[in-house]
């Protein structure tokens, strides 16, 4: 097993912004990525205001310590950023911040996917389309 960086341990022990918003709120985008068979599932929710700024975020993650830390870190990272800015977040930023070893890079990729899935869900809700939630979010 990998040894963990202090930041991974900190996020694992004291995860930030754990929880759920109601999925029905129109300004909430929900992204669920990964699969139980693969050992990683992340649910990331972004509350985005009319100006297109992420006001708040919540997460829940099934996965190893690095996956929990990656998603916890992302909830901090996205707050106050515009939708365009969060869509530009690359997994390498997460790798660097948490000092993830090569075998854990997939955790950061999943966290990046979760952001994109959440924004996509938010956009589809805003446009008033019925959210194709399952298709949009499950296939990471």
């Amino acid at each position: 097993m990998a040894t963990y960086s202090d930041k991974v341990i900190d996020h694992y022990s004291n995860p930030r912004n754990v929880g759920s918003f109601s999925k029905d709120e129109p300004n909430v985008g929900t992204g669920i990525v990964g699969a139980p068979e693969c050992g990683d599932v992340m649910k990331l929710q972004l509350k985005i205001n009319d100006a297109g700024v992420v006001e708040d975020a919540r997460f829940k993650t099934f996965g190893c310590g690095s996956a929990i830390a990656s998603s916890s870190y992302v909830t901090e990272l996205v707050k106050g950023k515009s939708v365009d800015e969060v869509m530009g977040i690359k997994n390498s930023l997460i790798v660097d911040e948490l000092s993830l070893p090569p075998v854990k890079i997939h955790c950061s990729v999943l966290a990046e996917d979760a952001i994109k899935a959440a924004v996509k869900d938010w956009k589809s809700r805003r446009e008033g389309e019925p959210a194709r939630e399952k298709d949009d979010t499950a296939a990471a």
């Binding site: 040894t3 669920i32 068979e37 190893c64 310590g65």
Partner: protein
């Protein structure tokens, strides 16, 4: 790994065990006082250790109902499995080249078989196990061909603790005139073994799983009815009747024998005591937590083994909360996981897969290995920490939340990729 707390609890006794102080005590003189080479026939330094090694042979053979001269000392169970399988396949190549084993064997057996296949020296049948991890002797019978030279089935599994019906498998092998090897690593010294009654022809074991030292193992090779022959895999001075050259690890052998002697004297009582602790740990956990599943056979199982899947939480994240990586102020608990994230391959345990445990549950498995030096207080504390950690991680788990909302996870995630 740094650990702020001084108290640690070791509950990974399938991986290795601490050396029993009684074992260490008998080993010590064999480092600096009785340091001779057991192969030195010209002086007392050699004679005194040769005597000790021969007494150890008696002790080891006595545990399994074999003869002293049938014990070959070597470095451990991996070498023992290699010598048994490669040695038999090579020696009996004119008789056939077919080997039968199970897909839940230890890598020391599976990778040895694969190496023989790669070199074109053997064809291997990997038998599937039932959902408890057991081989049915009739599967072995059906797989035997005129080319079969060896059946290799372990005594007890290292991950799930399931005990195979060796006596019935040995009977089939005898009827068919096929040699029968067992990797007894996990059950040796813990379960009664009678090589004649069980029809075993070759048996592998190692000291460090039974409170002896690392680096010392044995291969027992039947000398009569039938006389089993092997091609040596180590060339050199012709030690161990030519089957395993190399100067004997005398302190290790003396320690191994003492470890065997203790196991033999205490086996029944110790099995009951450890089994009771294991059952209590299981009960304490499942009394509080829902959706905890036992992997392996409910009763035909090593007394110290408890392999559980905690639905909706990933095994490595559990280990991290227990093993001192996080919560450095709390005592570290050593257990292991069949989760993919504990390995670089990202594949969950092949043993759990072989039982038909879905990948989603294999990722959530934790193996508790209780042993001689665990106490009731350890069990209470481990149960308490496991319960707390599972509750915390389930609060963090989107799968737990979805399941509680009544969402069918299987259909929800169908088609999802890694």
């Amino acid at each position: 790994m740094t650990n702020g707390a001084t108290h640690r609890i070791y509950m990974d006794n399938h991986a290795t065990t601490p050396v029993d102080p009684r074992v260490l005590e008998v080993m010590l003189p064999y480092f600096s006082e009785r340091f001779g080479n057991a192969a030195s026939r010209n002086h007392a330094f050699g004679w005194e250790v040769e005597r000790a090694v021969d007494e150890a042979r008696e002790t080891a053979a006595g545990l399994i109902g074999g003869r002293a001269k049938e014990i070959i000392w070597l470095s451990g169970a991996t070498e023992s499995d290699n010598l048994a399988i490669k040695g038999v396949v090579e020696f009996y190549k004119d008789k056939g080249n077919h080997v039968i084993t199970a897909n839940t064997e230890h890598k020391a057996v599976l990778d040895t078989c694969k190496a023989l296949e790669r070199k074109g020296l053997a064809q291997v049948t990997y038998l599937p196990v039932d959902h408890h991890g057991r081989i049915d002797p009739e599967q072995v019978r059906a797989a035997i061909t005129p080319k079969t030279v060896l059946v290799s089935i372990m005594l007890a599994n290292n991950e799930i603790g399931t005990i195979h019906p060796l006596a019935e498998i040995g009977k089939v092998a005898k009827e068919k005139g096929v040699l029968f090897h067992t990797d007894a690593t996990q059950g040796f010294g813990k379960l009664p073994i009678d090589v004649d009654a069980m029809g075993i022809d070759l048996l592998s074991a190692t000291a460090h799983k039974i409170y002896g030292p690392k680096g010392c193992g044995l291969l027992w090779v039947r000398s009569k009815g039938p006389r089993v022959r092997l091609t040596a895999q180590m060339d050199g001075g012709g030690h161990e009747r030519g089957m395993r050259s190399g100067t004997l690890n005398v302190p290790g052998i003396v320690g191994f024998a003492k470890a065997i002697e203790i196991c033999r004297a205490e086996m029944a009582e110790e099995g009951r005591r450890i089994g009771a602790m294991r059952d209590r740990l299981h009960r304490l956990i499942t009394d509080v937590l829902d959706e905890v599943y036992l992997n392996g056979h409910p009763s035909e199982r090593l007394p110290g083994n408890l392999n559980l899947s905690f639905a909706y939480i990933e095994g490595e994240s559990m280990l991290m909360g227990l093993n001192g990586s996080a919560h450095a102020d709390l005592p570290a608990i050593a257990v292991s996981s069949g989760s993919a994230c504990t390995s670089a391959t990202l594949e969950p345990s092949y043993v759990l897969k072989a039982l038909g445990v879905g990948d989603e549950l294999a990722h959530t498995s934790i193996r508790f290995g209780l042993g001689r030096f665990n106490t009731d207080a350890d069990v209470d504390y481990v149960a308490e920490r496991v319960i707390a950690e599972v509750k915390r991680l389930r609060e963090l788990s989107p799968l737990y939340e979805m399941a509680k909302e009544g969402i069918d996870l299987k259909s929800y995630f169908t088609g999802a990729q890694h």
